[in-house]
Amino acid sequence: MSQTAIPIRTRTAPEPAAAVDSSVADFVELLKPRVMSLVVFTGLAGLIAAPGSLHPVLAAVALLCIAVGAGASGAINMWYDRDIDARMARTRNRPIPAGRMEPGAALGFGVMLAVGSVAMMGLAVNWLASALLALTIGFYVFVYTVWLKRRTPQNIVIGGAAGAFPPMIGWAAVTGEVGPMAAVLFAIIFLWTPPHFWALSLYKADEYAKARVPMLPVVAGKAETRRQILLYALVLMPVTVAPWALGYAGPVYGAPAAVLALLFVIGAVRVWREGSEAAARMLFAFSIFHLFALFAAVIADALLGGGGRGGAW
């Protein structure tokens, strides 16, 4: 991939005016509820697909810890990225750049939730799941937010690992170990993340450039981004059907996974050939549906005993 000069990280945006007293809704917004829903859903899929059993209360606690840990990452991310959030229309109404919350309050809130969720996961479920949750939060905050996001267009390629851990955490919560199926579920989200975000960045490139975030279209151009989206879609296709091919899931998962992968490639080809904003928007929207549908298929396959070696909850 061609990579040119990487914009420098800057934190020169003015701090918001004196923050007024924040509301409960502002603290909820710090948790990035929409991102959290996807994280919880993939974590649930890992819990259900894993062989063995876990008491329903402890399974619920595991999901709560995954959700709170994801929210904590979001809050710390909003604290660190408050300067670039203030420059983008999509993010400038977040509690800190909008001046509704003091940055320190967001940081304290995030750190408290991070420590609390990791401790609770360890005490109530098991310490491997707890360690994976800590790794996820640490990866998102330090590797993605602090290190990569402002330095390289590979930010979401590597940083995407943070979003890929939840099904592995769910799996570890049940089994106390990390099996091959958990690794495949991780790989699916890991490879899905770059084309998902690059589709968004194709039509938000100006905003990312303004905020000096080196997303691929800003640094390497839109044509290269479209090519990379197609390449990732092609690599993602066999990986999404791998659970079926390897015998970890049955046709209840395999058939929809194959169709969805094909549709994703078709969408990526359209983006590559047409280069229109409409095609990029459609691919972005479809990518969200794609991941939800894939993990819904993982859950359905496990619950219906689809023939794989996964096991039931």
Partner: protein, 49 residues
Amino acid sequence: MAAEGNARRPARSEVHRRQREKNIALLVVLATLAALFYVITIVKMGGAG
């Protein structure tokens, strides 16, 4: 002075309203956590974990 005081009053009550809202939310969270720890303890003591 009196007019200034009156102008300030709604703003202050808004701050108080938000503070009260946060206090109630914190109470709910703490009560939920206490209940959760109790249930987790019962489940763990039952050896179901």
